[in-house]
Amino acid sequence: MSDKTLTRMDLADAVHGQVGLSRNESADLVETVLTHISDALVRGEQVKISSFGTFATRDKAARVGRNPKTGEEVPISPRRVLTFRPSHLMKDRVAAGNKP
């Protein structure tokens, strides 16, 4: 198992190689994909990408938390969190690729 970290640049390189657009435009398009997904989530929509997974937001109620170091109680305000549920296909491919 290798331990590389890919970034936007690697995704842009892949788009550049697959579609033959300039590196610059490829990078812009990768950004556009991420922006559209983010904007939809901010609007409260679910984003469902077949054979990849589903991004969805959940509303969390306010609760009283505790600083684990000091034991002090701190209020935690209500918040919206993002969850990602990988598709079966993604889970299967990740499991198969990382088999010991």
Binding site: V19, V33, V47
Partner: protein
């Protein structure tokens, strides 16, 4: 929003690209992420989030219906952590 709607939006904004090209661009982005995770790599997209692989240890499970014990092998699962900027945006902080 589903994959085809995402493709349509990007195609509408980029009239110089064909629908087929936009399809390949969008598919390549997702395919690269899955390929990276399958190879045990991470994908870090600052501001958006990071995809990584987590190891789940093997354990002795139980069939809830029959009560029979089964050995569940160690496995690796995909994981996504939301980036700070997106998390803040979801809460109306920017």
């Amino acid at each position: 929003m589903i994959r085809s709607e995402l493709i349509q939006k990007i195609a509408d904004e980029n009239p110089h690209l064909t629908q087929r090209e936009v399809e390949r661009i969008v598919n390549t982005v997702f395919e690269e992420i899955v390929t990276a995770l399958s190879a045990g790599n991470r994908v870090e997209l600052r501001g958006f989030g990071a995809f990584s692989v987590k190891k789940r240890d093997g354990r002795t499970g139980r069939n809830p219906r029959t009560g029979e014990t089964v050995e569940v092998e160690e496995k690796h699962v995909p994981f996504f952590k939301t980036g700070k900027l997106l998390r803040d945006r979801l809460n109306g902080d920017s």
